[in-house]
Amino acid sequence: MVKILYFAWVRERTGTASEDVALPDGIASVKDLVEWQRGRGDGFAEAFAEGDLVRCAVNQSHVALDHPVKDGDEIAFFPPVTGG
């Protein structure tokens, strides 16, 4: 299982703030996970649409698309940050 969190417009489009999911077979990186998300229905497809700028953190650190994901991770998807 991994915990997946969604923030700001990623949360709104997916309709999900937080979920615990079993990592499907063959998903080893953030990139794999993003592609899997796109197949989960309209809201997810829209949130993770090509060209959009969803960012990812694994275990509360910013990571690139090629970062590995594994059981027990806390994975977050969100837009570019706009605080300050």
Binding site: F7, L53, Q60, S61, P80, V81, T82, G83, G84
Partner: protein, 151 residues
């Protein structure tokens, strides 16, 4: 020191606490970000600041630690508010104190530049067309990159 909070902060008190009793401090630089009533050409009413509890604190602590590693600082402070804010409200305070002013200015500038691109906060603005997520600014990415090239 870092603080993430819904309630407002007292700027004078926060800065006073930072320097009180430390006579090695020669300069204190601070920056306060406030809610403007205009964003681009659109009137803005209230805004709501969402964040990622846990990662926010981690990110701010990393930014603060990095500043302390880069400059000889006597004290640093990051306070960021979350939740609903009105025009004129204080959003964020960053401050750095050092023996000399250049380190205080540079570190303070560094803190806010990295906060803007690394700390997981998102602004939702109330506009005449309804609520709108604020877009990240390219100029913020550029401001961060500036610190990555050798001085």
């Amino acid at each position: 020191m870092i603080r993430v909070q819904e309630h407002d902060f007292d700027l004078g008190q926060a800065l006073k606490l930072l320097t009180d009793g430390n006579h090695g401090i020669g300069g204190l630089c601070s920056f306060v970000g406030l809610v403007r009533d205009m964003a681009g050409d659109a009137a803005v009413g209230a805004m709501t600041l969402e964040h990622y509890p846990g990662m926010t604190e981690k990110a701010l602590e990393e930014i603060e630690a990095e500043a302390c590693a880069r400059w000889p600082l006597q004290a640093t402070l990051i306070v960021h508010r979350v939740g609903k804010l009105e025009p004129g409200d204080q959003i964020v305070l960053v401050a750095a104190a050092s023996a000399h002013r250049e380190a205080a200015f540079d570190a303070c500038h560094y803190l806010i530049d990295f906060l803007k691109t690394r700390a997981p906060f998102w602004k939702l603005e109330d506009t005449p067309d309804g609520p709108k997520w604020v877009d990240a600014r390219n100029s913020d990415d550029e401001a961060t990159r500036r610190w990555m090239t050798p001085a």
